[in-house]
């Protein structure tokens, strides 16, 4: 059966319907554009929906939390790889962006005294201020809002069960977007969409590491692969965030999140397989610091059989006065996660009466499409960027650099989704439609895949790639491993091109697996090539065969990956502006001071320690009422 092609016209195509895509679509439609949202999964079924639902809201708890403070915090925590113009934009818009989500129906609990959303009682690991707002029902509460923005959006059309196969571009010296080619699985058709602007907001790459990931299945690196193939630059692709504390067992729960450094309490520590202290002061540490310590220990043979370590939270609950505060704090901040922990590890673990075996899992890609603060594609000064190409959310790079602080991704979605939507609508107004002939090669190529090949099943090749990704471009890397990865990718590319694709029109699973495999291969190669360029460890990128990049004594640079016209790969180092030496020194001094203070606190006799910690919890949480622990526990049971 021949696959039919339907043609449509839009001003803006938005790929993805999660936190970023919904914001982009809503903003573009608000600017008068005719918008098409294209989503593989049902509207709103994204990483945002399954997240912890904790968002960064500048100034929510402390007036000293100015724009400059937040921007600097993001940049320094990201080892100066973030683009300062982008972190400034994040800091400038975070409050308005949050209000936009609220106008779509998100309802936080309100701190009556401050007259605003209630803030988590501690500063999350790496944050210099308390500014994370927790929501009942976690990310699901956000997904209702993002669903509303798309489904109720005036001027927005949307399609579910649809895969964007490639962007169509025209290049007469000034490359620009002409549209997109799409597979509509629900109807068994190809769609050719003429559109002068596209917003890539289709999330990350966690599925490359399955099952060692806690993200949605749909994260097959589509965002990065589509951008690369359209001629855009990717930045910081070696910086894949591995969440340190994830479940190792039983297999059905493998990879899911168990906890966060920021909620490890004043006394949470990491231990190796023999119980020796591996890392203390967890609550002040970033995800990257914890994950790096764990993979290094495992590499030295100090890990558990399943390649993990132990998260020991027992001291937090053993203290008679502060223990109940910790329980309430843990169960209310991570209610959904604690529900999962209870199912996977049992009640004793949930009560923190025993150590948890944990291992890092792929969670988020800090790298992504190289854009400016307007979320429009950007490249080197002597090159022309693809006009009409925008990106937001996890798909974009430049916001977080070498480490993303907890709770910042949900703000990133709305901040840059809105900017991308407005920008895309403006470009569309000033563009003329391209000739339909530019669609032909892509349409013919994809149509030709149906009924082709008679070798491997794409689903099996995907599994082979996933195993290789974990081993070679996972949380621990070496030059020889990265080179092995490139060889494996070349082999899988060859087998992918001969893989079996049936000729079914409606929901052709082998076709879907085939195109997702191709995306994962492109994205895996971008990660491997960027990782080869960075020979020392920095942030989330851990090189077992290299040294550690010093923040104070090195000049920051970002790895930029692109594909050249001749189908070659290019990797260049783009210099970044470093934080002034004294400012950096002050930041590091403050960080060190807090960690030393925490260590001192841990070494105090139990009675004193308990009293100090109780006082700190009380100052932010208020006095505990009898029964609060039961209420918090019930919330977990409900989750």
């Amino acid at each position: 059966m021949a696959i039919e092609t339907q043609w449509h016209d839009y001003d803006v195509v938005v790929i993805g319907s999660g936190g970023a895509g919904s914001a982009a679509a809503h903003a573009a439609a608000e600017s008068g554009a005719r918008v098409l949202v294209v989503s593989k999964d049902p509207i709103g079924c994204s990483d945002t929906k399954i997240s912890e639902g904790i968002i960064t809201l500048r100034g929510s708890a402390e007036d000293a939390d100015t724009r400059q403070v937040l921007s600097d915090n993001l940049r320094v925590a990201g080892a100066d790889l973030p683009d300062p113009e982008i972190t400034d934009a994040f800091a400038a818009d975070s409050r308005d962006a949050y209000d936009w989500i609220r106008r779509q129906g998100l309802r936080p609990d309100i701190d009556e005294e401050r007259g605003g959303p209630q803030t988590v009682p501690v500063a999350f690991g790496g944050h210099t201020h308390r500014r994370s707002v927790v929501h009942r029902n976690s990310g699901v509460a956000f997904s209702h809002a993002h669903w509303n923005a798309v489904v109720q959006g005036a001027g927005i059309d949307y399609l579910e069960d649809t895969w964007v196969l490639d962007l169509v571009t025209v290049d007469d010296g000034d490359p620009c977007v002409a549209g997109a080619v799409i597979y509509d699985a629900g109807h068994g058709e190809l769609l050719a969409i003429r559109a002068p602007s596209v917003v890539i907001a289709s999330g990350g790459l966690g599925t490359m590491y399955f099952p060692k990931t806690d993200t949605m299945r749909g994260n097959t690196g589509d965002s990065y692969a589509l951008a690369l193939r359209a001629g855009a630059d990717l930045v910081d692709m070696e910086q894949v965030q591995f969440l340190p504390f994830c479940i190792t067992y039983p297999p059905s729960y493998e990879g899911l999140i168990a906890s966060e450094p920021g909620v490890a309490g004043y006394l949470g520590v990491l231990r190796d397989a023999e119980g020796k202290l591996l890392l203390d002061g967890l609550m002040l540490r970033t995800r990257a610091e914890c994950a790096a310590a764990m993979v290094r220990a495992v590499n030295e043979g100090r890990g558990t059989e399943r390649g993990g370590c132990y998260l020991d939270l027992t001291a937090n609950v053993a203290a008679p006065r502060s223990g109940p505060y910790f329980e309430v704090f843990l169960n209310t901040t991570l209610s959904k996660v604690m529900g999962t922990v209870r199912q996977a590890m049992g009640r004793k673990a949930t009560k923190c009466q025993e150590w948890w075996e944990v291992r890092p899992s792929a969670h988020y890609c800090m790298g992504g499409v190289r854009v400016g603060p307007d979320a429009a594609a950007k490249t080197d000064e002597d090159r022309a960027a693809v006009r009409g190409l925008f990106s937001a959310g996890q798909a974009m790079g430049g916001v977080f650099g070498a480490n993303r602080l907890g709770s910042t991704a949900l703000s990133e979605n709305a901040v840059f989704g809105i900017r991308a939507g407005h920008g895309a609508a403006a470009v569309a107004k000033a563009s003329k439609p391209a000739d339909d002939a530019v669609f032909t090669p892509l349409l013919d190529g994809y149509r030709g895949l149906f009924g082709q090949g008679s070798a491997d099943a794409p689903a099996c090749l995907v599994r082979e790639l996933q195993e290789a990704c974990w081993e070679h471009i996972g949380p621990a890397r070496t030059r020889s491993g990265l080179e092995t990865m490139l060889t494996k990718i070349a082999e899988l590319r060859r087998r992918c091109s001969e893989a079996t694709v049936s000729c079914e029109g409606v929901w052709n699973q082998s076709f879907i697996d085939r195109v997702e495999l191709a995306s994962m291969l492109d994205t895996a190669e971008a990660v491997a090539r960027a990782a080869l360029t960075r020979e020392d460890s920095l942030g989330a990128h851990v090189r077992l065969d290299g040294g550690q990049t010093s923040l104070l004594w090195s000049r920051p640079w970002s790895a930029v990956v692109r594909r050249d016209a001749a189908d070659g790969w290019g990797v260049v180092k783009a210099p970044r502006k470093g934080t002034p030496f004294l400012q950096l020194l002050a930041y590091l001094y403050r960080d060190r001071k807090r960690k030393v203070a925490l260590r001192l606190l841990r070494s105090l006799p139990l009675r004193w320690r308990d009293a100090v910690i109780e006082g700190r919890y009380r100052a932010t949480m208020g006095p505990l009422k009898s029964g609060d622990e039961k209420v918090a526990e019930a919330q977990v049971a409900e989750a």
Partner: protein, 228 residues
């Protein structure tokens, strides 16, 4: 462990037997574990939806022995039969066409809440409804949704939306009614939409069941019926 997987190809159900290979002694796998294994061992082009493996995304609903379950959190037993949700048209294998459900609400909820002061807390009942993950398990045995398939012909409008409602749509409408920032006309409109979608079907219905445990009858249907 042998299990029946009901494939759906070329418009027909094709049951096949699949033998699960346990990954360790005494493993009690979930339905999703079985589907994942089947896809890379014997049924290489098996189609099924899943997302988070963690009971949060609402994508992986299938029928186990004729009843809707989230495959990521449903233990599978010897002799179980796994098929697509029986309440939606099947595209292929476990994949149902979901799109017509949400689409029926298009234009019936506000495009944005325009209240001046956003710092108003919502009540427990509002948050109880926000727990909904759109798994569509509630379509099972729903007499209102069944009206869409009366007389063998699917009842959809031009935009592919189902004519008649379901507990999910009613939940969205009741949630709006409980939103402290919704306007009076939003609330009145939500009730009107519930009526148009066929709320009368709920009058004699023993009640719907939520896939993740929301009290649909008490918190959604009863308060709407009170206004009927």
């Amino acid at each position: 462990m042998k299990v029946e997987i009901v494939l759906h190809r070329d418009g027909e159900d094709r049951p096949v037997t699949y033998e699960y290979q346990p990954r360790e002694e005494g493993e009690r796998p979930m339905v999703l574990d079985l589907l994942l294994q089947a896809q890379t061992s014997e049924i290489l082009d098996l189609s099924y939806r899943y997302g988070c493996r963690n009971r949060a995304c609402g994508l992986c609903t299938v029928d186990v022995n004729g009843r809707p379950r989230l495959s990521c959190r449903a233990r599978v037993k010897e002799g179980d039969s796994i098929s697509a949700q029986g309440t939606l048209p099947v595209l292929r294998d476990m994949i149902g066409r979901r799109d017509g459900i949400a689409r029926q609400l298009r234009g019936h909820l506000p495009n944005a809440i325009l209240a001046n002061d956003l710092n108003v807390a919502a009540g427990d009942d509002f948050h109880a409804l926000t727990a909904c993950i759109d798994c569509y398990a509630c379509l099972h045995d729903c007499p209102m949704h069944a009206r869409n398939f009366r007389d063998g012909e699917e009842q959809r409008d031009d935009g592919n939306a189902y004519r008649w409602g379901n507990p999910f749509s009613l939940l969205k409408l009741q949630r709006l009614r409980l939103d402290p920032l919704a306007s009076e006309s939003d609330r009145v409109g939500a009730l009107e939409t519930a009526r148009e979608l066929g709320l009368d079907a709920c009058v004699d219905c023993p009640g719907c069941k939520c896939g993740i445990g929301i009290d649909l009858k008490g918190k959604v249907i009863a308060p709407l019926l009170e206004q009927l």
